[in-house]
């Protein structure tokens, strides 16, 4: 029996990155880090959402770009999954606002998902299942964040704002179809944020090897085994990108040369957009991929888990590419701000509101 994934594919993809940028040197200057820090993390600058942007508005623009490329009637989308760890409300879904603003409501599923940086990916895998089962023709998964970091924490070099969205539909309409997917999760205390905490904490000793590397490698090897594929069969590899270094290192451990990872690497220039991280990387690869090429994608979320997907690009990719701005268009659109304006835009300066 063929795998259910092969009936489905990505019919539309879209990304969004805010306009403002904070140079890593600014974090060094303000918090007294060593000057070599940005280079060690491979981070040049990060994207900062403006004062009227949040995970919802970022997700809206990414979803709108995905709809432009899908060219489907929004009312035919029957599920909207919104993955984020920076939702504007603790209770009140963002997915409904996005669905309403895009004309998808009311006959649709809609929910916000939480699994650190891989919630959007859980939505993607659920979308594949819903479409493959025949329950619906189209489903949308969005990953979007205005990532928080404690000021002065090493995370502040990378925590940034951005998102991407994918509309899953029938393989025949797809720019790239799924060959298979594999998920690997465990209970790992590497990173968390309590409900009343404004900033996340990370468990020293659990980040890196036992979390990021173990889960991504396990998911990718699980996928390889199920599909009988190896690194040489893929033209691109996209991993979650907490900084510029980790995806290159996990790729090396799995047998992927740098050349297959660089096309989807975005964190050095826009930062880690959390739920947007691997998703924007995949969007950037689809912006440039050619028919017949094979893509590996492996998002990761703390807590911890990873999903691995194999995608094969189809002829349809070419006609869809020019229908919305590319990731590169958004990366090039930028205006630098200093740490003071960044603090104001991201609400780090506390004001009493009346």
């Amino acid at each position: 029996m063929p795998r259910p994934e092969v009936k489905t594919g990505i019919v539309g993809w879209g990304a969004y990155v805010p306009r403002y940028r904070l140079k890593a040197e600014e974090v060094v200057r303000i918090w007294g880090f060593e000057k070599s820090m940005p280079q060690n993390l491979f981070i040049v600058e990060k994207a900062v959402g403006g004062p009227d942007e949040d995970a919802l508005t970022i997700g809206w623009e990414a979803a709108r770009n995905a709809l432009r490329r899908a060219q489907v009637d929004p009312a035919e989308i029957k599920a909207v999954f919104f993955g984020t760890e920076s939702k504007p409300y603790a209770v009140k879904p963002s997915a409904t606002v996005i669905a309403e603003a895009l004309g998808i409501t009311p006959a649709t599923m809609a929910s916000d998902l939480e699994f650190a940086c891989r919630a959007g990916s859980e939505g993607l895998r659920a979308s594949i299942g819903l479409v493959a089962s025949g329950m619906m023709k189209y489903a949308m998964a969005i990953g979007s964040d205005t990532a928080q970091a404690n000021p002065g924490d090493v995370l502040e070099f990378t925590a940034s704002s951005g998102g991407a969205a994918f509309i899953v539909g029938p393989r025949e309409e797809s720019a790239a179809y799924f060959e298979g997917s594999y998920t690997y999760v465990t209970d790992t205390p590497d990173f968390w944020r309590r409900e009343i905490s404004p900033y996340p904490l990370h468990g020293e000793g659990f980040t890196g090897e036992p979390a990021y590397f173990h889960h991504i490698i396990s998911a990718v090897k699980g996928l390889f085994e199920e599909l009988g594929l190896g690194p040489d069969d893929f033209d691109y590899a996209v991993f979650h990108q907490p900084n510029g270094k980790f995806p290159l290192r996990v790729g090396r451990k799995l047998g992927f040369p740098k050349e297959k990872i660089m096309p989807g690497l975005v964190t050095p220039w826009i930062g880690n957009t959390y739920n947007g991280s691997a998703f924007i990387g995949l969007a950037k690869v689809l912006d440039q991929a050619k028919p017949g090429e094979r893509i590996l994608v492996a998002p990761f979320g703390s807590g911890a888990g990873s999903d691995a997907y194999s995608l094969v690009v189809t002829d349809k990719v070419e006609e869809k590419k020019p229908l919305a701005p590319t990731v590169e268009d958004y990366i090039r659109r930028k205006a630098y701000i200093d740490y003071a304006l960044y603090s104001r835009f991201r609400g780090i300066i506390r004001r009493i509101t009346v």
Binding site: G50, P51, E53, D54, T57, A101, P325, D329, V354
Partner: protein, 134 residues
Amino acid sequence: MKLSIPRFWREKAAHYRLIGTRCKSCGRISYPPKPLCPYCGSRETEEAELPRRGRVLSYTVIYTVPDGFRKYAPLVLGLIELENGVRVVAPLTDVMPEEVRTGMGVEAVLRRVQEDGEHGVIYYGVKFRPTMEY
């Protein structure tokens, strides 16, 4: 400055999707939507989705902002002529005041417009930013 939650909810199509009204008698389009055509007085109107691109005819910069708007200050309000000739007044975003020019191309995006303090409702609506060519 508090908005009415029920009123905003009733008008969400206009705020989220740039939906106006087209008069069935004289054919002219109003935004925000109006039950009564302001041009001919007809009550026969229907929903019309407006084009999302236009150009700035004129703008004003507001430095003395109402309560709750300091985080967005200064506010840039634009008079925008959409591609079909309909004129709307809306906030501009992703521009510093010194970057705004009359005649500049803009496109509608969804942004935070206002919030009822730290605990209340967040209002989302249409703002215009410089058009992204692609």
